[in-house]
């Protein structure tokens, strides 16, 4: 935890510096007669972020925040495994959308989570993974008229059939 606290503060300080540099593309000063320029607000607020990071580092050095005096690891092996398997699942979910469409990705994600992480039976898993995407399709495309992303060309025939059904 102790090491994590200062590393995170350092990382955020770097990000603040990047934001300051990027805001400086527009005028960051007070233009006389016109008030602040376009970069004024983000620049000085990013400076605020940077100063907060310095204050966090100062508190860390003095051992004022709980994390800075804790010798515990950030997470144990089990914790890391949980976060990586769940977080990774979500990343894979979003990455799959462009390949197998939103509804396909929903189905894969549900199978992965329910069966492999949740240890539910195949019956429950598959019925949810089939019913929910179809339900979502009817809700979004049919009722709400919102088109969700479609996948690579091989998903087209499925969509064409579904559209013929609902319109």
């Amino acid at each position: 935890m102790r090491q994590g606290e200062i590393s995170l503060a350092g990382l955020l300080a770097l990000f603040s510096l990047y934001l300051m540099w990027k805001s400086a593309e527009l005028p960051i000063g007070y233009i006389s007669g016109k008030g602040p320029g376009g970069g004024f607000w983000p620049f000085w607020l990013s400076l605020g972020m940077l100063l907060s990071c310095l204050a966090i580092a100062w508190n860390w050095w003095r051992g004022k925040s709980p994390a800075s005096v804790s010798d515990e690891p950030l997470m144990d092996a089990f914790g890391w495994r949980t976060v990586i398997s769940v977080g990774g699942g979500i990343v894979a979910f979003v990455a799959l959308i462009s390949a197998v469409s939103m509804y396909g990705a929903v189905a894969f994600f549900l199978i992965y989570y329910l069966h492999f992480l949740g240890r539910h039976s195949w019956l429950l898993t598959l019925s949810l993974a089939l019913v929910l995407p179809i339900g979502l399709f009817l809700f979004f495309e049919g009722a709400m008229q919102i088109s969700m992303p479609q996948g690579l060309p091989f998903t087209q025939p499925f969509f064409d059939v579904m559209y013929d059904i609902i319109y």
């Binding site: 995170l8 593309e25 527009l26 016109k34 983000p42 966090i56 925040s65 462009s98 949740g118 709400m144």
Partner: protein
Amino acid sequence: MEVFSFLVSGIFTALEPINIGLILIGVTVGLFIGAMPGLGSVNGVAILLPVTFLVPPASAIIFLAAIYYGAMYGGAISSVTLGIPGASTAVATTFDGRPLALQGRASLALVTAALASFVGGTVATVFFTLFAPLLATVALNFGPPEIFALMLLAFATFVGLGGDDIPKTIFSICFGLVLATVGFDTISGEPRLVLFDIQGFLRGIGFIVLAIGVYGIGEMLWTIEQTRGEITTTNPKMTAKGLVSDTKEAVRRGWKGTWIGSLLGFFVGVLPAAGATPGSLMSYGVAKMVSKTPHEYGNGSPDGVAAPEAANNSASTGAMLPMLTLGIPGSPTTAILLGGMVIWGLTPGPRLFVDQSEFVWGLIGSFYISNLAAVLINLAFIPLFVWMLRMPFTILAPLIFMLSIVGGFAASRSMHDLWLIVIFGIGAFFLRKFDYPLAPAVLAIVLGPIAEPTMRQSLLLSSGDPMIFFTRPVAGPITVIAIFLILLPAFKILRRKREAAAN
């Protein structure tokens, strides 16, 4: 008492069979759309706009207003049961609604939200009926300096909201405000902060992207990691008797927040640039400030649910006022309603009350009926939403993730934003581990886009002289109060230190 004869005839218009049918359908549809994270009243109203070609204009707007109301009630459902604010107006509802749900008191939170919404909506409608033209004049007197002062006040009411770690709270506020400036600078007409030169950032970073990332993904990851996946929300039970006792408790412990929210929400909602979100945030802040037990806030206080919920319903009724009387939309939803009125050949504006009084009063009458219908339908569905919470966590969790992603796309229609949601979610998890409070960042991204342009417009008006915020008759007092409130915690600390030194 001309108003009352108009009102009675308006209520009769709303009670015609076709209209009452449309109200019931509209409220139910709105409730479910609002309960879906990422979808809000604006989606519901936009989709049903074409349908309304089939019925007379008065029925059409009654229908759309019913959807609008239903969705405002529905927003609380997602905040309480899923912990994701479905719309910016329901952010503050999560602060206490979520803790209540985790304590197994989801039904109390939902009943409180429903009742508070009802009171808020009704109080606002009464004000609307009595003072519409007068309030329209007040709204016009709010120029950029006044709106900025009001935003300052909204921030001020939230000073006490952050965690104990002051630098981390300040970091969070600044971070939210900087994110709000990404995209495009209206004042200079130039692209700004297009991060890493990725063109997707041109569209800016919406509130909903940050909120779904932080609450839908970050907070969920944190819960799963903390509880090692063993969590089941302490079995919420739902019986008729429970509902009655919840109602009693909601009234007893939420009435104060309800009144604060109803009054404050309405007045902020009437101002076109502000709208329902600052109204609900300020009501939460004020309710906490005047409360005798402020420590309960954030840990499941019914007042903390009631204040923002009463306010957002009250404010959405308020937002109809500038739309009808001035033809100015106070929110994206009213913007689309306004488009609808143009489609039907009506000209919203100062003459609408005179030229189309039957239409206007029919609508006002329908507010009363819609509100009543919404609270009854909402209460009837509460057992269903509570039942959803009884699902095993290993089923509920993937459903929440799924709704976050699907709803996130529905709200933004952009893959770029979907990736941002994931990045914010994972980032929020680590920030949460190190006790960075994230609610201030979410508030900042809501208020920032109103605060920054109004500040700069004011300074353009005054040729760069900041005294404009102090010398204008309306802006001045608001600014002074806001600054006083911001400095209040510092005074308190100083006094405590001095007392400690004296001892």
